[in-house]
């Protein structure tokens, strides 16, 4: 982040110095160098009033002064949040190591000997001003990014069905529906869908783009647009995945892809038509236990000419279909935090036969096992017949 000269020369410099002649001399040196925003106060007490009134970009501070000396000035300003990082360049005559250490311990940023060597003064001053300005730019950039990510997060949340819509859908189709979505950073690369296709059929899906953060989230928006630009109720799951694959293959660079499980549940006959593109194996929880839907498939966007088949399963009343992203089972720390297939199946078997309770169990277990950090997006979706 380059600092331009005009920014630098407009920096507010406060000289706190009881020796009038020296203050005048310092001011002249700085003005000749091009600095144009210099003020001067005669002791530490006036210095404290001045920095409280308006925080300068740098303070040039004398040590031996009446009322409040240089050490006391440093100690006082470092206790206050807005002044904590204000650079303080201490200048003093004969000073021994102990006093020098005391100056730094009190909060001085740097030190320069009196009588001041003009070039050294200007060089040190510029280093600290540039650092200060870069820190400020960074802090500004960071807060802007945080605000924008927060807005993006809320935009991404608007892609997901509202609780009200989920409740209405559950009632209309006589299903149990529970969802959980926790992006790893403010925005993520996961998406789930629960949407009615007609009076009988409901589409359910979990999608996970490679990586997470901004790039993955942008891909989620692309996919969402794709899904809503065609009449998905006219397509079988296999046809839909083949269509999205063709589109994503053109859009995504090599090495980026999406895993997706997409299914259509007929709420009357309880048949489940589905297609699989490399997503974590969904689980069917029934009265007889829990089992994986063991279907494989290339992730979307990997190969252009990939076709996806539609498979069919017959569910029974009260069976639960559980979809999840790999953020549930995988953790970067590895070891005991990783949830194996068997352990996941056992957890699902053990849980009560209720979509809400099942998700709550899985989510609380995830945080107990792997801690509060969320290194990858976690998405869960349970639908009970």
């Amino acid at each position: 982040m380059p600092i331009n000269d005009s920014q630098l020369f407009q920096a507010a410099i406060l000289i706190v110095e009881d020796d009038e002649a020296n203050a005048v001399y310092l001011t002249e040196v700085l003005e000749q160098a091009g600095f144009c925003n210099i003020s001067h106060v005669k002791d530490g007490e006036a210095g404290l009033s001045a920095v409280h009134a308006s925080v300068p970009d740098i303070v040039i501070l004398d040590i031996n002064m009446p009322k409040v000396n240089g050490y006391e000035f440093c100690t006082a300003v470092r206790k206050q949040e807005p002044l904590k990082h204000m650079p303080i360049l201490v200048q003093s005559g004969a000073i021994d190591d102990n006093k020098l250490t005391k100056a730094f311990l009190s909060g001085a940023t740097d030190f320069i000997h009196k009588p001041v060597n003009n070039e050294e003064l200007l060089a040190r001053l510029c280093v600290h001003l540039e650092n200060q300005m870069m820190m400020r730019e960074l802090a500004h950039f960071r807060s802007r990014l945080e605000r924008e990510l927060e807005q993006a997060r809320s935009t991404q949340e608007s892609l997901l069905p509202t609780q009200h819509a989920l409740d209405a859908l559950a009632k209309q189709f006589n299903l149990g529906v529970a969802t959980y979505f926790q992006p790893s950073s403010e925005i993520g690369g996961d998406l789930y869908l629960v949407m009615p296709l007609d009076d009988v059929r409901v589409a359910v899906s979990v999608v996970d783009f490679t990586g997470h953060g901004i790039n993955a989230a942008l891909n989620i928006f692309r996919l969402h647009t794709m899904l809503y630009s065609i009449n998905i109720s006219e397509h079988s799951p296999g046809e839909l995945l083949s269509y999205i694959n063709g589109k994503l293959h053109k859009l995504l660079p090599t090495g980026q892809f999406a895993t997706m499980f997409y299914a259509i549940l007929n709420s009357h006959t309880r048949t489940l038509d589905y297609a699989m593109a490399g997503a974590p194996a969904p689980i069917i929880k029934s009265k007889r236990g829990a089992k994986f839907i063991d279907e494989t498939g290339l992730p979307l966007g990997t190969r252009e000419a990939t076709g996806y088949d539609t498979h069919r399963l017959q569910l029974k009343k009260e069976d639960i279909l559980l979809l999840y992203s790999d953020g549930l089972t995988e953790t970067p720390s590895g070891g005991s935090a990783y949830l194996s297939d068997n352990a996941l199946l056992k957890q699902v078997e053990k849980a009560a036969a209720n979509a809400d309770v099942l998700l709550k169990d899985l989510v609380s277990n995830r945080y107990e096992r792997a801690g509060d950090a969320v290194p990858d997006d976690i998405t869960l979706l349970a639908v009970q017949c």
Partner: protein
């Protein structure tokens, strides 16, 4: 992840160890570079890799792309446990030679 490589003529074997994730992309770039050095067969030994995430799978696809450009073959060996499962679920045997 760490890796070591052994080269004999135009054949090169890279043995990887540990966890192969998003944070290994710079290191894996070095492995992909091997393909530009005239290698005809690159064997990636996964027997000591305990975990791969989707970014790891993506990097393998990048390597495959480079191999096709360089007219070379990538063979993946020794995958087990989580890695084997990820290859299977993502049907990587359609794309790579997996032994």
């Amino acid at each position: 992840m760490e890796y070591s490589k052994q080269q004999e003529g135009t054949n090169c074997t890279v043995t990887m160890r540990g966890r192969f994730t998003f944070s290994d992309r710079n290191m894996f770039d070095q492995i992909i570079q091997i393909l530009a050095s005239g290698i005809k067969q690159l064997t990636l030994d996964f027997s000591e890799v305990e975990f791969i995430d989707s970014a790891g799978l993506g990097m393998l696809l990048l390597a495959q792309d480079e191999a096709e450009k360089a007219n070379a073959t990538i063979i993946m060996t020794g995958a087990k446990g989580h890695v084997e499962k990820m290859f299977k679920v993502s049907r990587f045997d359609d794309i790579f030679v997996i032994q």
